[in-house]
């Protein structure tokens, strides 16, 4: 099946999330369960020992992604982001043939459990924004844990945003209203970058688009313990947080910029969109994050899709993924101020 992305790092051939002695779990959406049944078995649960294999596959996919994007008629501009600790990060500015001076600027942060992925991971997701909104997408190659633990990934991602404000105008970009977007660990990093932008007087943001974001290292919610098997299960989640935080993980001294669920002050955040499945580890931390924003008088939109596992939205033929995409584009229409239309529509 062409749209089953078996290279997505959190992978499993397991169909059922039920196992003896474990808490009951919401069933998967039937169409999504059928997708799992048809998937190639992949390595699961992922451990630190699997990183070299999966990263090699990530690199191969990156080459393919660049090719595909060029075939779609997009222009790719490579730039270099200098970090405070002296590193130079590759970042790519991608635009389509329909870019105008009023085009939205979207800062994209890839996923991969803080340990995996490249700035090309899930490129189909942002390619759609370029087609639909004439958007310019900036995607940054942040350094990965465990080789580069907290605060490196977070600071790298913030450096990319800062670069856009400083150098954007040289490339014809108006970085006064950036939409920050991230998937999975990238969603957590996007939430961190949003908090950092607020506290450091960074660029004002049009919004934060958090897709299945990884927000909480503590594993205290019901959902964080409910899914012991399946895509991005609780053991993989623990591995990711340990890679990022080392001994700090789940302890008392984890700052909000590392795990945004630790944040205490939810005032003055930009409009927030959170999308998550009811059958994934991140469900409850996502619901709690939206609730905290509402409590603080902020604007948040939360969608919990019944029977969705982590990354369910990539299986775009399913009815539930189509509904999730429609809701997402509706929010982007409202947040960006105009209705994006796919050129082929």
């Amino acid at each position: 099946m062409s749209d089953i992305d078996t290279t997505r790092p959190p992978g499993s051939s397991s169909v059922s999330t039920r196992a003896a002695g474990h808490p009951p779990v919401p069933p998967y959406d039937p169409e999504l369960e059928a997708v799992l049944a048809a998937m190639h078995p992949t390595i699961s649960p992922i451990t630190l020992a699997d990183l070299p294999t999966v990263r090699a596959e990530d690199r191969r996919m990156a080459g393919e992604a660049v090719q595909r994007l060029a075939q779609r008629g997009f222009t790719l501009t490579e730039v270099t982001v200098d970090t405070a600790d002296g590193a130079q990060l590759p970042m790519t500015l991608i635009q389509g043939p329909h870019t105008t001076p009023r085009s939205p600027l979207i800062y994209y942060i890839h996923g991969g459990g803080m340990m995996l992925g490249t700035r090309w991971s899930s490129y189909e997701t942002f390619a759609e924004w370029i087609d639909r909104y004439g958007a310019v997408v900036a995607t940054v190659e942040y350094r990965l844990a465990p080789e580069h633990p907290y605060p490196t990934p977070q600071e790298d991602c913030y450096s990319g945003l800062a670069w856009l404000r400083e150098h954007g105008p040289e490339y014809g970009l108006a970085p006064d209203k950036v939409l920050v977007a991230g998937i999975s660990a990238g969603g957590g990093l996007a939430a961190s970058v949003t908090l950092m932008a607020r506290s450091r007087g960074g660029p004002s943001l049009a919004g934060q688009l958090l897709l299945g974001p990884m927000l909480d290292d503590r594993a205290v919610t019901a959902s964080s313990r409910q899914f012991t098997t399946g895509l991005w299960n609780s053991s993989e989640n623990a591995t990711g947080w340990r890679a990022l935080l080392g001994r700090l993980a789940a302890g008392e001294h984890v700052p909000a910029t590392a795990a945004p669920a630790r944040n205490a002050d939810f005032t003055d955040l930009p409009p927030t969109y959170i999308e998550v499945g009811s059958a994934e580890v991140f469900r409850d931390e996502c619901a709690a994050y939206a609730t905290r924003i509402w409590e603080a008088g902020g604007q948040a939109e939360l969608h919990v899709w019944a029977g969705g596992f982590h990354g369910f939205d990539t299986h775009a033929h399913t009815s539930v993924a189509q509904a999730a995409l429609e809701a997402r584009y509706s929010w982007m229409n409202r947040t960006l101020g105009f209705t994006g239309v796919h050129p082929s529509a």
Partner: protein
């Protein structure tokens, strides 16, 4: 060895197995994926459109399902999005398609132009089978009595569907019933559990009758008593009995004609009728021929035959002489009677038509189509 070590070793072994499985022959593994996909949707009771979407995404081209009886018409594009029905175009005829095995006009298709892909046939087969089961189980429309009767009559119906139909008809599985087959032109159904079914011999009304209920009718064939779940068996025999009826014998129970069952099947499956049937056909030049032959064959004397026909016995005598000469056969003998009885029965099975106001052995001379 401590627990952690053991777990890690098991983990390594499992991963090795997974890698080997992935390397299995790609064809077989792709087929297994298709089967696992549809099995899972079935097991989870997914809606009918989910199956069509899955087929389209696997095939990489649009796919569809039409089922006139249930007014279902689904088409999705290669990305699984609902799409309009295709324009009527030449290529429609070239697309691979498969009928549903539910004796309906329903079928599924994938819009493959050019060379077929490796698993097209498997995809279609799985899609058709899943659609059949899902339609019967989900019943997008509430069953009406006639649809419920059709399900009971169809040999291919699943037991799920049969149970549902029985509930609709307020029958228990073990209720004793039999089927009566009658001409669909007759306005009144023999029971409220009735449907008109297209058959080899034209549209025939099938009525499911509970044993003990009284039924009056001018012309019918009735099947044997069966349990309600086995209605389909009674229907086949009721239809056979109906086909053997004539003006002189308008009501036949299966039990009285069961010996003809295999012969009727044989006639249906052969282009070449037995010579005796051809002989009857050749003699059937006057409106009275078939009635006269039958009356003589089923009675002992010319007077009995005459009474049955409502004629004077001398008329019967002269017609018989004429026929014996024409057929070169001594009809008025045990052998002659048997041959004529058999030949007439098979002739009726072959030529009786329903739903068109035309009976062989009746007083009409229009040619048999």
């Amino acid at each position: 060895m401590n627990t952690t070590d053991r777990l890690e070793r098991q983990d390594t072994a499992v991963k090795e197995l997974v890698r080997r499985l992935s390397a299995l022959d790609a064809h077989a593994s792709e087929a297994l994926k298709v089967i696992a996909f549809f099995d899972t949707l079935l097991a989870r009771g997914a809606g009918i459109e989910a199956f069509v979407r899955g087929a389209a995404v696997f095939a990489g081209c649009p796919a569809g399902l039409v089922h006139p009886r249930h007014q279902i018409c689904i088409r999705v594009d290669e990305q699984g999005r609902p799409a309009r029905q295709p324009r009527i175009a030449e290529e429609v005829n070239d697309w691979p398609c498969q009928p549903l095995d539910d004796e309906s006009d329903g079928f599924v298709w994938i819009e493959r132009s050019g060379e077929a892909a490796m698993h097209d046939a498997l995809l279609l087969e799985r899609l058709a089978a899943s659609a059949h089961l899902t339609i019967e189980r989900a019943g997008p429309l509430a069953l009406d009595d006639a649809s419920a009767v059709e399900i009971l009559l169809a040999a291919a119906s699943t037991s799920d569907a049969r149970r549902k139909a029985l509930r609709r008809l307020q029958l228990r599985e073990e209720s004793q019933v039999y089927v009566m087959a009658s001409d669909s032109d007759d306005a009144d159904a023999l029971s409220r559990r009735s449907a008109v079914v297209d058959t080899l011999v034209g549209p025939v009304r099938a009525s499911v009758v509970v044993t003990g209920d009284t039924v009056a009718r001018t012309r019918w064939g009735s099947g044997p008593e069966v349990m309600a779940v086995d209605t389909a068996k009674s229907w086949r025999k009721a239809l056979c009995a109906l086909r053997l009826t004539s003006r002189l014998q308008p009501r036949l129970q299966w039990g009285t004609v069961s010996s003809f069952g295999p012969l009727v099947d044989a006639i249906d499956n052969s282009d070449e009728p037995p010579p005796d049937v051809l002989l009857i056909e050749s003699a059937d030049r006057e409106p009275w021929v078939l009635d006269t032959l039958e009356a003589v064959a089923v009675t002992d004397t010319h007077r009995g035959a005459a009474a049955l026909l409502g004629l004077h016995h001398s008329t019967v005598q002269s017609r018989l002489s004429h026929l014996e000469e024409a057929l070169d056969l001594k009809i008025d003998s045990p052998t002659g009677r048997t041959r004529i009885l058999m030949a007439l029965a098979l002739h009726r099975a072959k030529h009786n038509r329903f739903g068109v106001r035309r009976l062989t052995g009746s007083h009409t001379t229009s040619p048999v189509p």
